[in-house]
Amino acid sequence: MAARIITVTSGKGGVGKTTTTANLAVALAMANQKVVCLDADIGLRNLDVVLGLENRIVYDVVDVVEGRCRVRQAMIRDKRLPELYLIPAAQTRDKSAVSPSDMIRLCEELSSEVDFILIDSPAGIERGFKNALAAADTVLVVTNPEVSAVRDADRIIGLVEAEEKGPAKLILNRMNFGMVKRGDMLAPEDILDLLAIELIGIVPEDEHVLISTNRGMPVALDPTSRAGIAFHNISRRLQGETVPFMDMDEKSSFFSKLGKLFGPGGN
């Protein structure tokens, strides 16, 4: 069977693409899916450190496309999980070392061996973006509840459509529901209203993300943390399950009801 090929992208940098890619890969692998993640951020590799696999790199994606090794040799196996692999980006090359057709060829080769291929994108809308998108059958756009990130997400969603890879699905990362309740952060429904695309996950702001990244243990390995649960929920939705948005439920809590009673112009 052919693998699902999922590209994680964003307009603005630093919104959580690499964190999302790593954690979805872990969550899918914990659900007994065979997963390979591919770092398409050539020149600025990071997926290796977020996964905690940086010490095991021998070959990278440029070595594969330039024929210095076979795909298998560049796949680093994550020993904590049954079937999770990483193909790292090259650190000392630039984006032009890989072309969109290289990406398509590589993914075709991987496709028969795994269930999911997850591709982490660089920031921006240039060559690296096209590379990351070329082989995708599903595109996930990550954004934060903040004006510049939402604006840039809108741009990227339009570009994904223009590349005929749409409609993209949205991941809202770093939501702080306390701030939403106070009216100081765009709520999920505000952002969906503006961007008009389907939501596939809400990930709360959670200090465990940083702590686990420090340790090289993606937060999804701990399925009791709030962010970990959120990534597992997205992984389940990717596998076709219907999972309620846990964070949405929080909004009907006592305080937000209070806010709706007294606050002007609630939603």
Partner: protein, 87 residues
């Protein structure tokens, strides 16, 4: 802490509502590749052209940029004045 007192008394809009309003306009500009002032200019030019053919009261004309999902649509409501001086 003064923030919520202001809000309860309706003095200051919530910052997220301001963010949403600003984003609405920015996204229209980005999606149409038109700035707010270009949009105004287009409306004014449209008015001039329309007025050349039919009798209108510029104050009643509404030319709007509407958002439908991810699509932008320009709509116009242009009440025509009844024709008076025919002969």
């Amino acid at each position: 802490m003064a923030g919520w007192i202001d809000r309860l008394s309706g003095r200051q809009p919530q910052s997220k509502d301001q963010a949403k309003e600003r984003l609405k306009l920015v996204l229209i500009n980005d999606r149409t590749d038109l700035t707010t002032s270009q949009l105004e200019q287009m409306k004014n030019e449209l008015l001039v052209v329309i007025a050349r053919y039919v009798d209108i009261d510029p104050d009643t004309v509404r030319i709007m940029m509407e958002t439908d999902g991810r699509e932008q649509r320009l709509t116009a409501e242009i009440p025509l004045k009844p024709i008076r001086h025919r002969r």
